[in-house]
Subunit: 596 residues, 2 copies
């Protein structure tokens, strides 16, 4: 039975009441966290968005009927309570914001009864993800998720405030738009009015934001929902949110400047963390050479060292073979891990093989200075000494080496470096290390498609000095592209855009598009370029991932109110689902039966 709140009006949220309210009458409303009967009193912890508040029911205050009603309260009942604020009669609770006060109830209404929830509404529960997601509306009541969603809301507001103050206009771009095959797989939306035709949901507002620059809006931003129909990995969602921006009459430094101030404000106001400015910058080439990654985690060192010179001509075929094949030999120094048991080292070798390495060579510098190694026997003492010196190996260190094509060596050691850091507890979530990565390669070669593909996207401006290489040596062209990384995660990226029709056409050519194909896909943008387009550049953040890091969560699911699972379904609503035949008829669509 549900009572009405008629005649009552909430005066405070739970933790808005404090010592200063003692003696006042208040009306509070929320959920019963728990009830305990203690002697002749009933205690209830009342919960709302703000936190917990203790209510005391005493028959002397509330009368027999009210007291009896209080005795029926169970977890998750929604109640309204009128009462006086008093100093706690029992022990104070220093863990609670309201730990030294309580409300002595004079009126109680049960606004909504509740069945026993399938799992307790509290943090630290050990409930299967499937159950939590099916009852997402209950899971969202837990303080941790409440805090995350609140933090996300705050973060969005800070971003919007800052960008508005900086002269950015928030402009909405269409969701029902055109399918453009470059990039990931589109979600399609069949048109009823134009049977056989489809809209696509945007993978990003890229083309529209560039058009807005053509239109003279100068500075644009949007917290834009984007869609990619890809097979989901742990940290992906079919729909996600970008903080998307674009600026006119700017170059790389302008974009970096405004974004550094944005990040500093965001981290200061939302989680009280000071971001030292300027944020360090590193070229892509340096990042790969030093960290084997284009998003290096710089919370710890353990940098890659190129030892190709040192091992050249040594007797170890794995090393010399890699060099002869045009590759490199590089190592990392796991400081103080010289005594790592063989079994753990073998696990690291397996880990490296998972990245495609043929193996992993190791060399432990014992505390007495002697060496324990998988390959020492193939090298002279001088060669070993030079190698250890180059690696800055000290007694107690473990040196790990990979020898292969450079790209593979980067990947293996980059991955190994992170794995070791994880094992050694070097990844402190309370430390926030930002890093800009600049001068990305313009193209990467796709073995699958047997052609160069754009590393960022086809509208990215090459560095001026590399423009002549577009036709002669595309692999060497560097782009005016930049990523902002945080603790080894790419949280955003962008580029200066091509704004010259002729450069854009050369770019499409390098990508193997015919002029016709390019016009069919991006014609409206190329057309727009004919009517006066300003130099422009932009950047987009993955909001979900950014908030995840701010909230110190491990999955973006924990900062999205209603996330989907790996097969892109929603366990709460059961979307996607089958629809009426009539709906398909209207769309002139027929479902092709699947063979089993």
């Amino acid at each position: 039975m549900a009572e009405s709140m008629k005649g009552l009006r909430r005066t405070h949220r739970c933790t808005e009441i404090s010592n200063g309210n003692i003696g006042q009458q208040v009306t509070v409303m929320g959920w019963v966290q728990k009830r305990r009967n203690l002697g002749s009193l009933i205690f209830v912890d009342l919960r709302d968005r703000s936190g917990l508040l203790q209510i005391v029911f005493d028959e002397n205050d509330i009368g027999a009927a009210g007291f009896e009603k209080a005795g029926t309260l169970r977890s998750e009942f929604v109640i309204a309570v009128v009462g006086g604020v008093e100093k706690r009669s029992g022990a104070t609770n220093p863990n609670l914001k309201t730990g030294d006060i309580e409300i002595r109830a004079t009126e109680l209404r049960i606004l909504s009864e509740a069945q026993t929830p399938p799992f307790p509404v509290e943090d630290g529960i050990n409930t299967k993800d499937e159950l939590r997601l099916k009852y997402r509306y209950l899971d969202l009541r837990r303080p941790e998720l409440q805090k995350n969603i609140l933090m996300r809301s705050k973060a969005c507001q800070v971003v919007r405030d800052f960008l508005s103050q900086e002269g950015f206009l928030e402009i909405e771009t269409p969701m029902l738009t055109k399918s453009t095959p470059e990039g990931a797989r589109d979600y399609l939306v069949p048109s009823r009015v134009h049977p056989g035709n489809f809209y696509a949901l945007p993978q990003s507002p890229q083309l529209f934001k560039q058009l807005l620059m053509c239109s003279g809006f100068d500075r644009y931003f949007q917290l834009a929902r984007c869609f990619r129909d890809e097979d989901l990995r742990a940290d992906r969602q079919p729909e996600f949110t970008q903080i998307d921006m674009e600026l006119s009459f700017v170059d790389v430094d302008d974009v970096i400047d405004v974004n550094e101030r944005l990040l500093a404000k965001l981290f200061r106001e939302v989680i009280g963390v000071e971001v030292p400015l300027p944020i360090p910058r590193m070229t892509w080439a340096e990042a790969m050479n030093r960290y084997g990654s284009d998003k290096p985690d710089t919370r710890f060192g353990m940098e890659l060292v190129d030892v190709s010179e040192e091992v050249k001509g040594c007797g170890f075929g794995v090393f010399t073979g890699a060099l002869e094949a045009g590759g490199t030999v590089r190592g990392i120094n796991a400081k103080g891990q010289g005594a790592m048991p063989r079994k753990k080292i073998d696990a690291l070798v397996d880990f490296a093989k998972g990245y495609g390495a043929k193996g992993l060579a190791y060399l432990a510098v014992q505390e007495d200075g002697s060496l324990k190694s998988s390959f020492a026997k193939f090298m002279t003492e001088d060669q070993l000494k030079a190698l250890v010196e180059k690696m800055e190996g000290r007694p107690g260190d473990l040196l790990l080496f990979a020898a292969d094509k450079t790209k593979l060596v980067w990947d293996v050691l980059g991955g190994l470096r992170l794995e070791l850091a994880k094992q050694l507890g070097l990844l402190d979530k309370n430390v926030y290390k930002f890093l800009w990565i600049t001068e990305f390669p313009q193209f990467e070669y796709s073995e699958e498609e047997n052609r160069y593909v754009a590393m960022h996207h086809p509208f990215t401006m090459p560095m001026e000095e590399d423009l002549p290489l577009l036709e002669t040596d595309p692999g060497k062209v560097r782009a005016k592209a930049y990523d902002i990384t945080l603790n080894g995660t790419e949280i955003g990226g962008g580029s200066v855009r091509i704004f010259q029709e002729d450069v854009q056409e050369r770019m499409f050519e390098a990508l193997g598009f015919t002029k016709e194909a390019a016009y069919e896909r991006f014609g409206f943008l190329l057309n727009a370029f004919q009517y006066g387009v300003p130099p422009h550049a932009g950047l987009a953040y993955g909001l979900d991932r950014l908030v995840m890091l701010m909230a110190k969560m491990d999955s973006i699911r924990d900062v999205i109110a209603f996330p989907k699972v790996k097969d892109a379904s929603c366990l709460m609503t059961d979307a996607p689902n089958v629809v009426d035949e009539k709906q398909l008829d209207e769309l002139a669509l027929h479902i092709v039966e699947q063979e089993n």
Copy 2:
């Protein structure tokens, strides 16, 4: 040929420069509005988002090469200019913010050349909509559209600021969700992972925002993109934006209070209009009786008057017939229109017939007090006198009457009232009249479906005193629903929600849903109601229409950056379009060939 902006940095937008900058060197960038050669000087109006600025090119300042370059400038070229700010040498232009200054250019770069645009980039052009929409990026350069998009951005920011300050959290709800047949037609999104299954794009975040209240977020808002696959009328778009909100532990007055303060702040800060609070309220029944509309335009009077009593038993069969059939006779008084020519009156009759009226009776009170009428001959002098008196007819007035079923009479006279106001110039766009409409009927009877359908939606709470009528006389049940109207347009609406499972089930029953059907569609909401749900209520505004009224535009297209046309296509991108066979294969879909 495009020059680089390398080494230059914009110091000001055009109208950020004023008298106070005289003597300073500035760098400005923008579009050439026009160039004029005057004697030995070249003048260019430079345009950016902020407005216009005059640039003067003098060979003595900029040298021969620069001067020659300036001579090649044409409209819509994008240029960068370095120069000194000076008092205007020629006549000042009081229409321009920068009308008393000019920049004497010392450096000019052409950042982007431009073809002659298909229409001039200026206000008041008489260009076909189709052409403007195809080249939307050029149309958006016009000052009027620039102003509208800027205003929309500002409005969004004010809304978000206000709601954040009021304790609302902005929470994103899914776009890929479940098709729920109640309501308008869904846009569907085929699932690739689950062939034969579909997501639906949300018509509104209704169910999710109610779930967020179940989750204890207390106050939610979102500027939410919504989708409806309906045949487009002039003022509809397939995708549109709602200011969507929901509040817990509130009743009607709380929702109205926070929204009145929101509207007042919005109109004050964005367009400098003071909204007097409180905004008047009117029940639905009163609005229909007085204005024949549930969104009455109260910028003018011309209210409906029920004259059924006065004409009862008169000799005019049209009147008495309507009364005998259970209908009513009502009139409006078009003040001062007594001399309206017969031809114009006939046009009004036709207008009324368009609403389904069988005709329109009129009675003109001549300046000499005599009556000219289509029906006077059927009535006695006393009857006529009583009728004129009831209508407050004065010499020179035109009285118009409709007799039919009450609902039709409301529609006809409600429409006629607006048509007359338009003809008489009573619709002043500078006047903003807000009005709350409350106590809507819970249901309306659908002749088509032969059942009651929800007037608002099936989660709307009936007024407590009408609950017993749910089973006995559903047509009489009033809902705790409210609309906010502005100048005769519904700009928003909402309701207190049902939060009791049993009431919700009775509601579904009244709507003719079986329990199974209801659970199939809304099961997750009904399930949520079992675990403790707070009383809650909400409201949503149509942002596009709201901004349209603020910007004094006639179409929402003028406040949307990239709108679609009536057949839901985009003339700029050509969306929707055909897609690759491979994309359809992946979705297990086949297009049914259309018969011609």
